[in-house]
């Protein structure tokens, strides 16, 4: 497996980019077909490490050469983005993905997804994480709880920032963890559940950190969770809706996602547990029929496909829960628990689950 560099400062990045550019220039002058060999970041190219329960990027590479009309655009885009990264790194600045896109939307076919992908491609080609490229995504995660951090000259506690909590910084690697008074992390899939938990002061009552990535988590959120898990040894529990999408999100916290698999080692938290809402919880906690939803065709298809993933296929608990979901054809949102009363989740469900270690 390719070793991923987790840390790289601006000067190192400048040196690395210069090295690559010189190599390309040399190829051009010796009349070769200059090319980038980019590890494929696709659904077919991943390696699942069973022992570590992690998804890594596979061996498959795609060549993007200049003299091939099919790949010249991607080749050019990569060099162009590299030159932008170079300029910003020289001045020790960061760039957002959006800023990079707006350098030349025409070149990226007027679609930011194109430039976002190119950034990931450069990272994986150079064998570094995206933050090493000094590219930040507008982080959307929120963290609340007894956690003292320092960013630049500011030191703050995530409990003292009001009910909105701390908006996780995109420059997460430059944030220093000063102190942590929490015993575990409860990662919540969505904002709505987080608001309920904050309102009930769950984090204060239970000495935990509440973190949400608001759906599919961004890198900064995952990086924060990983650092807390690694540096502060906090166990991580994940709370999602009881559907295939929820399980998928938990899986990406835990094992990494396929599209960002090259950064797994640096982002994933293999010890994370899916606490709920498990398909088996629906009966266990008597979620009324009226609060359960019928799975759509898309849900079912997604669930069936997930069953094929080796990390689910070979994980008995995960497999059983997923099979149960499929066989019933039912899904439910966390809010379904509210049918038993608005505080049922914080007062009954979560304590009982944590107490009985009813997670997978």
């Amino acid at each position: 497996m390719k070793k991923i560099k987790e840390k790289m400062d601006a000067r190192e990045l400048v040196r690395e980019l210069k090295r690559v550019a010189k190599g390309i220039a040399r190829d051009i002058r010796s009349r070769k077909n200059p090319a980038f060999n980019v590890p494929t970041r696709g659904a077919d190219n991943f390696i699942y490490d069973e022992k570590k329960d992690l998804i890594y990027i596979g061996e498959s590479m795609s060549q993007r050469s200049f003299h091939n009309t099919g790949t010249v655009t991607a080749f050019t885009q990569m060099l162009y983005v590299m030159s932008i990264l170079y300029e910003s790194a020289e001045r020790e600045k960061h760039l957002t993905k959006r800023e990079i896109y707006y350098q030349d939307p025409e070149l990226f076919n007027k679609d930011q997804k194109t430039s976002d992908n190119i950034i990931e491609d450069i990272a994986v080609t150079l064998g570094v994480t995206r933050p090493c490229l000094r590219v930040v995504a507008s982080a959307k995660g929120v963290c609340i709880g007894d956690l003292t951090l320092r960013e630049g000259n500011d030191t703050f506690n995530c409990n003292s920032l009001g009910r909105g909590g701390w908006s996780i910084s995109p420059f997460i690697d430059e944030v220093e963890i000063i102190d942590c008074g929490a015993d575990y992390i409860l990662v919540v899939e969505k904002d709505a559940a987080l608001i309920r938990l904050i309102e009930e002061d769950f984090h204060k009552k239970n000495k935990c950190l509440l973190i949400t990535g608001k759906g599919q988590p961004d890198i900064a959120t995952r990086r924060l969770i990983r650092r807390l898990n690694k540096e502060e040894k906090l166990p991580v529990y994940v709370l999602t809706d009881s559907d295939s999408y929820g399980m998928q999100i938990c899986s990406s916290y835990k094992r990494g996602s396929i599209s960002l698999s090259f950064e797994s080692a640096y982002l994933a938290v293999p010890s994370a547990k899916l606490l709920g809402l498990l398909p088996s919880d629906l009966d266990k906690f008597n979620v009324p029929k009226a609060a359960r939803l019928k799975m759509t065709e898309w849900d079912l298809k997604k669930a069936q496909k997930m069953l094929e993933y080796p990390w689910i296929k070979n994980n008995k608990k995960w497999r059983k829960e997923l099979q149960l979901m499929i066989s019933r054809g039912e899904k439910a949102e966390l809010q379904a628990l509210a049918k038993h009363g608005i505080t049922f989740m914080t007062d009954v469900y979560l304590p009982q689950k944590l107490e009985s270690k009813d997670w997978i």
Binding site: A25, R29, N33, F66, T69, V72, T73, L79, Y80, S83
Partner: protein, 629 residues
């Protein structure tokens, strides 16, 4: 080659000039003088054809007498308006060819045609075209025809005037000509009614194409004093075809009678001697076979059945074909198929299976014929001629003439010799037309000579693609038809070349689609050469249908198209690589700028080699860029 005197060479060639039949005939058939716009064209065509033939004959005289056939050959066509209001034109065609001996002019002017008995490809084969022009001129203006001619050896030129009115040819004047005139050659002049402004385009096209095919002749068109000149460009002429006696399979009764009559006038010899002397591919063995064959045919005639039809009926039967190779089944089926004649059905089945039955009885020898039709033991009719029967005795009996002709056509003989053809030299054909049309690509295909009904035939095709050729050409301009070195202009649709071309699936060659002429910017020049080539009319503007010729044309066009297809595909690729270049060069700009930012070197140091490499990898034909492809 043994050198002989010029006089003798001339004589040898002129020896064959003789009288043929009637003037009146020409008035009844379509000679191409029907329309006012066409009459001047047809006149020029006939005159120029004769002139070109006369030049080739002069070359022959020179070749035989000096060993070198190159000289400053020239054909001049002069058109002058005599009476504009009436549309009266004078057209004269002058060549510096062999010339007509003074005493042979009166033969030549007769309507029967110059009728060389020689059997070789030539432009003007029947020799009636010019006379048709003269008759038309006489009918339309009442004015006579003038011929001025001088041979190599004659001391002075003579001027002859002939009147074609009153249903016959009358000599009006014959006198020494004192005016300016070439060393040798002929000038013929006619005054006729015609719409020259409408005929002009076709005349110019005809002369332009003639000049392309004959780069060893200078062509001059003088229109009321305005001169258009196509200069001689090479000393290499069209190889002079060798005269070959007719092939027995190609002879018809009329021709046979003419030959007999001609022989009879010299000396009445035996039939065997006559056949061997006047036809190719006949030897003693064939004569014997022929005498026996004649009795077999006589027998068929007596029995009142047509053996050829029966053979054809079996050969073409779909049912027999279905029965494939089962002799029993075929034999049984023949009982119903051939009820009119008692044939050896088992033997017929055997012949069928061995592929011996075709559309006529030519493929069967005497023994096979006799066995098939159960002739053994039958009383055969008395022979009406033997090999010793004299030419006179045959000539005097219509029945005998017919039987000889029939027998000659019903037997198989080896293919005729091929040196009687006049293919256009490859270089000439290519240079001639490529210089006119400037294509970006041309291909040449030459079929091996073959034969059809005893006449050798050969097809050449020049395909030209792209360059200055527009894709929006009219059909007539996409297919340039040439027959025996003469371009054909009129009767485009009915010509076998056009019809064959229409049957080709052009989509196979990326040149168009099926059922029409190509739609790509392509021109095909098709030359068919054959002695006694069969035309659709006396005007000789369209080659008549013939399966063998059609097949040859088709194959030649297909072979040329296959070659062109390679080019078309390549051009497509180039067109794409032109686009790819543009695309890549745009990216090269960004790439070199990006690299230069990171490495600090000059942008040009990257851009230049990158673009050079793009161009090396994506070659574009120069023409492609010129034509904007």
């Amino acid at each position: 080659m043994k050198k002989i005197s010029r006089k003798k060479a001339e004589e040898q060639i002129h020896n064959h000039i003789r009288l043929q039949s009637a003037e009146e005939l020409l008035k009844r058939v379509d000679t191409g003088f029907g329309q006012k716009a066409r009459a001047p064209f047809q006149t020029v065509v006939e005159g120029v054809q004769n002139a070109a033939d006369a030049i080739d004959k002069a070359r022959e005289v020179l070749l035989r007498s000096t060993g070198n056939d190159d000289y400053n050959a020239e054909i001049m066509v002069s058109v002058s308006v005599v009476d504009k209001s009436r549309g009266e034109l004078q057209i004269s065609i002058q060549d510096n060819g062999i010339g007509i001996p003074k005493n042979k002019v009166q033969i030549i002017v007769r309507a029967g045609g110059t009728g060389t008995i020689e059997y070789k490809a030539s432009r003007s084969q029947q020799g009636i075209g010019w006379k048709a022009a003269a008759i038309y001129a006489s009918q339309s203006t009442g004015k006579p025809m003038e011929i001025i001619s001088k041979t190599f050896t004659e001391k002075i030129a003579h001027r002859h005037v002939y009147d074609y009115g009153k249903g016959k040819v009358t000599k009006v004047v014959e006198e020494p000509y004192e005016g300016e005139f070439p060393e040798h050659g002929t000038r013929v002049s006619l005054t006729l009614l015609g719409d020259y402004s409408r005929a002009r385009g076709n005349i110019i096209e005809f002369i332009r194409r003639m000049a392309a095919i004959h780069p060893y002749i200078t062509f001059i068109l003088k229109e009321n004093g305005n001169i258009t000149k196509y200069e001689k460009r090479t000393s290499e002429g069209i190889p002079i075809p060798a005269p070959v006696p007719p092939h027995p399979n190609s002879v018809d009764i009329g021709q046979l009678k003419d030959l007999l009559a001609y022989q009879s006038r010299i000396r009445s010899i035996s039939l065997a001697g006559f056949l061997k002397k006047n036809f190719c591919r006949i030897g003693d063995k064939k004569i014997k076979e022929l005498i026996e064959r004649a009795t077999i045919l006589q027998y068929f005639d007596q029995q009142n059945f047509f053996a050829g039809d029966i053979v054809k009926r079996i050969a073409q039967s779909e049912k027999v074909k279905e029965l494939k190779k089962s002799p029993e089944k075929i034999s049984a089926y023949l009982k119903t198929l051939v009820r009119d004649v008692d044939i050896d059905r088992d033997y017929a089945a055997k012949l069928y299976i061995s592929g011996k039955l075709s559309n006529n009885i030519r493929s069967l020898d005497n023994n096979e014929l006799k066995k098939l039709f159960k002739l053994d033991g039958q009383p055969l009719p008395k022979q009406i001629f033997t090999e010793k029967t004299t030419v006179n005795m045959i000539l005097n009996d219509e029945k005998k003439v017919r039987l000889v002709a029939e027998t000659l056509r019903s037997m198989s003989f080896p293919s005729p010799p091929m040196d009687s053809l006049m293919p256009i030299p490859k270089k000439t054909l290519i240079r001639g037309f490529v210089s006119i049309y400037n294509p970006e690509k041309h291909v040449y295909v030459e079929r091996k000579p073959t034969s059809t009904s005893g006449r050798p035939v050969q097809v050449q095709v020049l395909g030209m693609y792209g360059g200055e050729i527009s894709p929006d050409l009219r059909d007539q301009d996409k297919l340039i038809r040439i027959a025996n070195c003469t371009p054909l202009i009129y009767e485009f649709g009915s010509d076998i070349i056009t019809q064959t071309a229409r049957e080709i699936d052009w989509s196979l060659y990326k040149l168009g689609k099926k059922g029409s002429l190509p739609s790509a910017p392509v021109i095909f020049v098709v030359h068919v050469t054959s002695p006694q080539l069969k035309y659709l009319g006396v005007a000789k503007q369209a080659i008549g249908a013939d399966d063998v010729i059609a097949e040859e044309i088709k194959r030649a066009l297909q072979a040329a198209s296959r070659k062109l297809r390679k080019h078309v595909s390549m051009m497509e690729k180039h067109r794409l690589s032109g686009k790819a270049r543009e695309f890549l060069e745009k990216h090269a700009e960004i790439v070199s700028e990006s690299i230069s930012k990171m490495t600090g070197e000059k942008k040009e140091r990257i851009y230049k080699p990158l673009v050079q490499e793009i161009r090396r990898r994506r070659p574009i034909a120069v023409q492609a860029t010129l034509t904007g492809g």
